[in-house]
Symmetry: C3
Subunit: 350 residues, 3 copies
């Protein structure tokens, strides 16, 4: 794909300085870019690269002053970094939309229903009665189990496994290696010390605009659905147990885990490696610090907690600071004991 300075200026609402017909086909760092590439300059500290760059087009801040003439076509915008990021975002979207067709060999059950403009990569498996919406992109080496439904514009990265009967919404992104719909961890203890599996016959529902990172695991419900609500963002290596509900726009950082049947409200933020025990309720807007261990429901919205077990953020920080003073406190108690013994002895002597 080739774009002219005029076309890009329209996309990012820029003022053109130089040849409006200059064209580019790829991106480069300003210090390394070659003819036919687009670069940006956001930090004035690197201004000198502007005069030596091989880039054909450079996006710069409207306020950037020039000490010399520049061979590249300049596109001036209020914020060069944001404009560049916007451009990349649009470019990635276009590139993804252009991935279409069915690579061979792949396995697509005859009963599967495929939307318009989809992509199915090589070695991907599409089970019986699967429905793929329009513009769905399934990367290679992916497993989509029987009866799964995937909504429009959703991107499934390589090696994702979606078990049977799960539902994935529109505009969802799931990164490589993530497993959706594996059995919940349900075993009934038997008299002889062994465990009997409790069948896990529910599914997982991932709503629209959710993004899930790489190598995460989201278990299917025992009955009913494990639910990831619209706009939630889940990082890599996260564990979501059976029958959990993750609220709208809730954000969970890497390696955190949520145990069975816990309901997270909307706009909750969970730090990395935090854990939440099962059957709790976490109110809207709660903030759970990294590595926290939440063992009780959080009933007040917007509460911040930290520690394992987790308590109110501010008071925990004070307790943690004091616990670092324990050697000093112990010394003060010892000193007091000596003085009081002295006073007691003297009293006797009186």
């Amino acid at each position: 794909m080739q774009f002219t300075a005029a076309q890009i200026a329209m996309l990012i609402n820029a003022t053109i300085e130089g040849d409006a017909n200059a064209s580019v086909g790829s991106f480069g760092k300003i210090e390394e870019a070659q003819k036919g590439q687009l670069a940006f300059l956001a930090n004035p500290k690197y201004e000198d690269f502007l005069y030596t760059t091989g880039a054909s087009i450079v996006i710069i801040n409207a306020t950037q002053e020039l000490k010399q003439t520049v061979s590249a076509t300049l596109l001036r915008v209020p914020d060069a970094y944001t404009a560049f990021a916007t451009l990349l975002s649009k470019y990635q979207e276009m590139a993804t939309q252009q991935m279409t067709g069915i690579q061979e060999p792949s396995y697509i059950a005859k009963t599967a229903k495929l939307g318009q403009n989809i992509f199915v990569g090589a070695f991907s498996y599409i089970g019986e009665h699967v429905t793929l919406g329009n513009n769905v992109k399934i990367f290679p080496n992916t497993f989509i189990g029987d009866n799964v439904r995937i909504g429009d514009n959703t991107i499934i990265h390589p090696g994702v496994k979606v078990y049977h009967d799960c539902i994935v919404g529109k505009n969802v992104t799931i990164h490589a290696g993530t497993v959706v719909g594996s059995d919940g961890f349900g075993f009934a203890p038997q008299a002889d010390g062994s465990f009997k599996k409790v069948p896990q016959i529910g599914n997982v529902i991932v709503e629209d605009f959710v993004e899930i990172g790489a190598n995460a695991t989201i278990d299917r419900a025992t009955m009913g659905s494990t639910l990831i609500k619209s706009g939630a963002k889940l990082d890599n290596l996260i564990q979501i147990a059976h029958n959990v509900e993750v609220g709208n726009n809730t954000v969970i950082a890497a390696q955190a885990g949520v145990s069975g049947s816990t309901k997270l409200g909307n706009n909750v933020m969970i730090g990395g490696q935090a854990g939440i025990v099962g059957h709790l309720f976490i109110a809207d807007g709660a903030r759970i610090n990294a590595q926290s261990g939440v063992s009780k429901s959080i009933k007040t919205p917007n509460t911040a907690v930290t520690g394992s077990p987790a308590f109110d953020y501010t008071s925990t920080l004070r307790s943690q600071a004091l616990s670092r003073n324990l050697p000093d406190m112990e010394k003060r108690i010892k000193e007091l004991e000596k003085l009081v013994q002295q006073l007691l002895a003297e009293k006797v002597n009186l």
Copy 2:
């Protein structure tokens, strides 16, 4: 598959009320079920659905009273939920047993030995000299390395990777994305600060009736075997290091990790995100709380520990509670210091 009320009644030992020839082919929630579906009513709170459901057969509690006539055939049992779960379990087993054959394309080495009634999904790789027992089900996109042996009735979900020479027993279930037999983390420090790999030439043995969750990792032994003993249940994203031994019916929750050469006894229970350092011994029946960090062997059976570092459960809870009182304790010490100084000053004054 279609089943009549009479057939189902026999499977779950139920009393039939209504048409014994009513037949069903799938399951549904009582409030949504249609003709040809089976539902259940466990909670009397939802009794009203019994009179409006479209289900052809409903399993109900023996004690359930009826206020109106019901169009569905009723199957009465002592506990409707348990009967329904049992039925589902049998149904899933049957459905899995009916998955047979080799999907194409798959890769099966000529030296592999395949049992009766097996299933190998598309894009699965079966290496040289692999042995698959009877009724083994290998889902798509799975890698079974050279010389691996898998026992009867074992189910390997999509995208599992079993490295060469590992042994998996009978009636085992391994969920999607799990890796069995990757190299243990063994590196010998060199004089120049770099590390030299210690070859990991052992294997992993997974005994019968083990279940392992999704995206877990179980490293092969440096020499000998990493051993997961019969009936153990391991959740998602668990790390089992080289030469670890997991005892019979031991249960490990999600994201927990066990370091190299540690031996876990039988019927141990390990909470989520807990960690156990290497070369320890954990006695039978020990209970390790979520997020605990176990740094010493647990020699007494049935001990419960918590905290990082982990200590006796009850005393740790008391210490944790007191540490939340540290601001108060500090205040009390300050007050004592003031009073003692006052007493000392007055003594001087006397």
Copy 3:
């Protein structure tokens, strides 16, 4: 492959006792080994097996005395275990080098450039403009995205996913299921509570001699590169966030996580399940204990820290020990309060 005692003696610099033409094709434990196998005896405690083993060749310590005649050919070396490990290491290397060719079906883009003596396993996907160096071994079910470059002698185990534009050096090993180059977790909060994705347009660079365990995740940079420097060793289930830099020969144990833009120095050691927050600097040689939560930069080289939040190792151990004495400290304060009240009361009485 068959090797004679004479050939093996040369490889490990051993003295031969017995038939120099005895030959072996595989390894076995001394107590189980059969004709045609090689075993070793390191621990004199197991000497008796030397007289009963079926092994054709046994490596023993130079100092090992014999009470009876031995039918196997003996290879004497200063340290039998080390010699055996060296041999295995060479054997594994040879075996890996002998894996060559392209298994079918696989998917190799026409624009990919393949080096000499490479192996590509079945169901592996090699994208457009990928470069594979000489002796690269790609196991089955692997995804190598567009424009990825992989250096000589690197081994990619089954089910690894490397996203587009990432660079992997020479002599690297990546274990099964690991994801390299997934999107960093970057979302800009919007006024309505939802999040807008920040495009992640950087890549991951994995330098030479790095080893990465199974099911780990290494995110691509937002811009620029996430960097794993030469000789670093990363264990299973590790999370490396966008724009992180891992120093030379730095070692990270299983389930640890490093948040965005943090720079780890050289020869840092990070224990299992530890977490490091974003935008920190960790000095060379720092040691971070298992389950630690590092929330501040570590500026002094070779500092050891522990705890969550993490502080100096020795003082934290003392505070942790004292926190276990809190019930006792609380009792001592109560006693002091009683005595001081008594003294105050008596003063009044005087």
